[in-house]
Symmetry: C2
Subunit: 757 residues, 2 copies
């Protein structure tokens, strides 16, 4: 066992390393200058990129192109405008929800809990907003620079995109950790000093304190919900609309600068895939850390040991340093030279970080826990487990390695280097219908191994240390989060870089490079989503464990009517939620298509009656406004569904029905989320595989058209409904946990039963 | 309370009514003669159909057409050939599985149980095979006659199709009931007489007897699994293949006689949608009846009362008579005169049968049960319920009316008379991608209300009478099965009639009539599927209840590791299963496309180098063989998954993990099955809506092409993977129930745990 001060030292040092790494990478990215003027002002590189002069690369419609600076500025402005509007709406909601939380907890439980929970909730929400915003800024900053670097070859482009992603990864994890650390310390001080006069039982204080701290996770996930859903609707409405009206109808290329929806599409990558995803994973981190603390506060042997209680903080902190060394492998040891190096390099990051983290987890478990301790839920002796400190290592390692396996399986199903995606690409030969059928089947199939991994992790975690084991497994999967975020952010950065290269009329070789980087990005995005849903499943289960601990439910017997009905209805919620989000994307995309058509109808015609695009100025801002409005308004109903269901269920049907509901949503949501994101990823890469010419037919062929339809269907699946489901299951669980003390008397079966009895 | 002999009298009389009704309708259908020769030999009707002479209707390519007799014969031969092959394979499997059952139960439990269970299993399998076969024969018999009647107008065509469906409905229910009745009586006699020497406790004998009787349900569902999966793969491989190669590539019409896959497509409707569906619903009936008996055999106050024990038989029997009166409404009281009458008439059947059944259920519950009785699982006092006889009425009524609501909701989401399908049709304007997105969202959304209905039914059923209440609710939903089967069979009959009309070159007006009947058929097929999955959910839960009763599990606490891991893995199984079935359809369809392409490449060309289809003889038999082979071989892996998973889980991980697995598969499978069949139904009818010209663009337009893609994707969803999921959840539950006595010692956690402990 180590001293209390060890926690402070480790956390502060690691956060310092994290922030320094982010700053260092940011400074390197910033060395590429983006200034007004045609193309870039990159000195001699301008003439000799890829060994050819720029003149050779100019295409016929080159003249119409804006420069990188202008495009980059337009994207940044669109993203800023959306985030401000989203955050404005969210701000109102967060304040109202905070008041609800305060009043419910205050009147039904006690005002101290209400106050502290609400404070933690606001801190979490604010940190999440900041995370999303910072992530977006970094991405916008890196996109144009990646496009410029792509003119110098794979090595430079990959390096820039990777470092941009790493800036986000390290900055976010460090920020989230330090805020939680400060908050936990402040609460600890306040509860142990101010409260000790009134409360005799130290463990009760500790429990109350950590329950209040769970508000931090709630705040984080609430913002993440709207970020993921709103951002997801935004990005896919723009993407689908741009594809349908521009690519399919008008025959323009992807990211053609004459497509009015193209800026909205690129803005979407930054607000949905970056800001939304950052907030999501920050939420997972905050929830897993607080869930672990709530559960361990119930342990008679852990609650009084600060080092053991703060294990989640220390594990995440050391994870930052592990990720720092891991990132060195990509930036300094084994550099990307060719297209084929990109995917292995990103995969290596996952492998190396997992490898390095394993012994670190062992040392931490060995030193931060007593040799033997007891995990137990309240007075419930049947849940009593005698745990040895190295058991915790096994649970963490289980989570860590499950995450890696899930990542690799996801890669297998979504990368066009393997059979499954190639089969999907081949099925496009017989048209869009077989493409959709094969893609759906692929998504369903890709669920099998991840679910087994999760089931084994849950079994091992629970067997060794009860619900605490599941919570620490969730910590394990998230311990290398900085690298997870890095490779997650890498994808949309490259996607945007490609867009910028196209819009500014950069040479085709440049676009080839960004396309190849982007294809790897699709795979890593799918890996990131697999990772996010895997961690969300474990986090939700840990929160579920913390919830039943808090409400003192000894068991959730699904042979009882409320529980089983809850389970069934819970399993339905992901479908309801997905129906809303998918439909929203569809409707918003239709609005976008109509706007693009309207603008195209204004294109002046030349003397032969043909459309003369050279004299056409697309109105990007209008399309941005359509996406923004659709996203902000359409995120409300699914948001309400997720936020209010557990509260309504808890109040009216009782905690037992709610427990069933949470379990149902969890087990059904996991499957849907994994299959949706893998199906979407596979369709996207099947299209890219066909475009690469590997199947014999390239862009514009019938096979390619079929692939584009699959890609378009996959968009809302992989970037809106799929990833939002992570948050659905997490958020419902943490709302239940935070509101638990205010639910009507436990075991009463809710207000409804009381009325009838 | 009534006398024991009342059961015998009611069952025999009702079965007689059912068989007489079937015979009477069959005789009416048979009055339409199908004999060799061009068109039909329908006397004067030939010249004056629809007030116009046939000559006016002849199309330019009329000469190439075969006559109704020939086409009908080809379909019948194809269907026979497939069913023989399927049953041959199934026969081997059934015998092997029967031996496994005998040996496992014999060695692990006792040989008497093994013997009686296996005998019941064979009876169930045989009855199911017979049901499927009879259904197919009736459908093939009615198809051509419906096509011929369509030449005389809506009234005649509807009447023929409806009566054909009713023949199947009444025949199947009567057959299933009488076999079960005889078997139950035989077992009752044998157990009460032969066994009374060896066994002191009468209730133990009764329990053993009904557990053995559950083998009947197992046999029925095992055959249904292969029927649904094999038939589903067959029908959709042919349908998708015919559509892709014929309609999309070669530009032929639906059911064009020059398409080599067209006979296979029509055969598919009969073997998949008719034979498979008949076996499926027979399985549901057999399982719900036996599950109810197993549960009531545990009741200390019911086991010795033959009238109370045989309530499932009596309820189903009286249901036949109720359905007999209901069918009168369609055939005699309110006849179909115009297109608009078709859907209301079918819906009215559901409503009337539900209305009539309700008082009957009340009288039966009042007379067949003691005023008060006890329902309880083994010695488990916590499950003890004091039940009044009219409680049982409420549970039955809940099931009955839930079924109706589910049917109506399904109609709302899949009929093109309402907003949802019209929205999907409108989304086709922007192409196939939005069509798919909207269709998927529609399917997800359509799950909400059915799941709430099921949850309420489960809650009410359980609250009033424990697991017995859920079993009787399942009986309720299935009590009007004869009408359910009638309107279910109606759809594929009309679909085939349309095919025959097209292939024999009947006038367009005729095809318009069969198309309109078929559109209503798509909706009723979806209603039938909603009904099938709703009943399957309740039946599975009842079986689950019977299983936990048998293994004496007091609770299934999902806070425990094996149970939760089981729940998670169980929820994944429908995905795994769907991946297999969808992919099988895709692969078989590809093989079909290649065969059709090969045949088309042989079409002789005329002097201008154009294909001269008039001189082309399509080789139907080869396409039939491809579908047959694909179906028979590809049904094996998903079949194994369903059959072996519960056995493996039970043996190696114990009954607690198995209980979690069953619950997970149930709650996840229900959602997937409902959404898959409604999505598919909606796409099909959106296409029909566009074809009707209601959206301004008709056949051949871009909008129509987009709709065809949706329809093709929907085919395997609605006719292969969706409906097979019903059987997945039922079959896993009944396998668990039947094998339960042989699983290693209860509460031990399975062989795996014993190894490690």
């Amino acid at each position: 066992m180590v001293a209390d001060s060890a926690v402070t030292i480790i956390v502060l040092v690691c956060v310092a390393v994290g922030l320094a790494t982010a700053a260092w990478f940011a400074q390197q990215v910033a060395q590429i200058k983006v200034v007004p003027g045609h193309y870039d002002e990159h000195g001699s590189a301008k003439q000799t990129l890829l060994g050819k002069s720029v003149a050779e690369h100019k295409t016929e419609d080159d003249e119409g192109h804006a420069d990188v600076f202008t495009i980059s500025k337009a994207i940044a402005e669109g993203a800023n405008a959306f985030l401000y509007q989203e955050y404005e709406f969210m701000g109102i909601f967060i304040v109202l929800f905070g008041i609800l939380l305060l009043v419910l907890l205050g009147t039904c439980h006690n005002w101290y809990s209400g106050l502290f929970s609400t404070l933690a909730f606001f801190c979490g929400a604010l940190t999440s907003v900041l995370s999303g915003f910072i992530g977006m800024r970094i991405a916008v900053f890196t996109n144009s620079r990646t496009a410029l670097s792509a003119r110098r070859g794979y090595e430079y482009a990959f390096d820039t995109a990777f470092k941009g992603g790493a800036v986000m990864g390290f900055a976010l994890v460090s920020l989230g950790l330090i805020v939680l650390f400060i908050l936990a310390n402040a609460y600890y001080l306040y509860y142990t000093h101010a409260f000790s006069r009134d409360h005799a039982d130290g463990q009760d204080q500790t429990k109350n304190m950590y329950e209040a701290l769970a508000g931090y996770g709630l705040g984080g996930s609430t913002v993440a919900l709207f970020g993921r859903v709103g951002g997801g609707i935004y990005t896919k409405a723009a993407d689908v609309g741009a594809d349908l009206a521009g690519k399919v109808e008008a025959g323009l290329r992807e990211d053609d600068h004459r497509n009015p929806a193209v800026i909205a599409d690129n803005v979407g990558d930054n607000v949905g895939d970056i800001a939304g995803m950052g907030a999501d994973l920050f939420g997972s981190f905050a929830e897993s850390a607080t869930a672990t603390m709530v559960i361990s506060a119930q342990s008679p042997s852990l609650y009084s040991s600060w080092p053991a209680m703060s294990f989640p903080l220390v594990l995440s902190a050391t994870g930052i340093v592990v990720c720092f060394f891991t990132s060195f492998v990509a930036t300094h040891l084994i550099k990307v030279k060719r297209q084929q190096d990109v995917e292995p390099s990103l995969k290596r990051q996952l492998l190396v970080s997992t490898f390095l983290m394993t012994p670190v987890a062992f040392v931490l478990a060995w030193t931060f826990f007593p040799d033997d301790f007891i995990i137990q839920r309240g007075d419930e002796l049947s849940t009593r487990k005698e745990v040895k400190n190295y058991y915790i290592f096994f649970t963490v390692a289980c989570g860590l390695w499950s995450g890696l396996i899930i990542g690799y399986i996801t890669e297998y199903y979504t990368s066009h280097s393997y059979v499954p995606v190639r089969e999907v690409a081949k099925s496009c030969e017989t048209g869009a219908a077989t493409n959709i059928i094969y893609g759906l089947a692929l998504g369903y199939k890709s669920v099998i191994i991840p679910v087994f991994c999760l089931a084994i992790t849950i079994y091992v975690g629970y067997s060794l240390a009860g619900m605490y084991g599941i919570a620490t497994a969730a910590l394990g999967i998230l311990s290398t989060l900085a690298i997870g975020l890095t490779i997650d952010a890498y994808g949309p950065i490259c996607d945007n870089a490609g867009g910028i290269a196209e819009m500014t009329g950069m040479p085709h070789d440049v676009r080839d490079i960004t396309d190849a980087l982007d294809a790897a990005g699709n795979t890593t995005a799918a890996i990131g989503k697999g990772f996010a849903i895997g961690s969300a499943a474990l986090v939700s289960l840990a929160l579920f464990g913390a919830f039943v601990t808090t409400v003192n439910l000894a068991q959730v017997d699904i042979l009882r009517p409320f529980q089983f009905a809850g389970l069934l209805v819970g399993a339905m919620l992901p479908y309801w939620f997905s129906a809303m989000t998918m439909k929203s994307v569809g409707e918003a995309a239709l609005a976008m298509v109509q706007e693009v058509r309207r603008q195209f109808s204004l294109v002046p015609t030349d003397e032969h009656g043909r459309k003369d695009f050279a004299r056409f100025k697309p109105d990007y801002a209008h399309c941005v406004a359509i996406s923004t409005k659709a996203a902000v308004y359409k995120m409300i109903p699914p948001g309400m569904l997720v936020m209010l269901t557990p509260i309504v269920a808890g109040f009216f049907f009782g905690v037992e029905a709610l427990a069933g509901l949470l379990a149902g949503a969890l087990v059904s949501g996991v499957q849907m989320a994994i299959s949706a994101s893998n199906t979407g990823g596979a369709w996207d890469n099947a299209k890219k595989y066909i475009e690469s010419g590997a199947t014999g037919s390239g862009k514009g062929s019938e096979q390619h058209k079929a692939a584009v339809i699959g890609d378009t269907v996959g968009d809302p699946l992989k970037d809106t409904s799929g990833p939002s489901l992570n948050i659905l299951i997490k958020l419902m669980a943490i709302i239940s946990l935070v509101f638990a003390p205010s639910f009507p008397s436990i075991h009463s079966g809710g207000l409804l039963s009381q009325l009838f009895s």
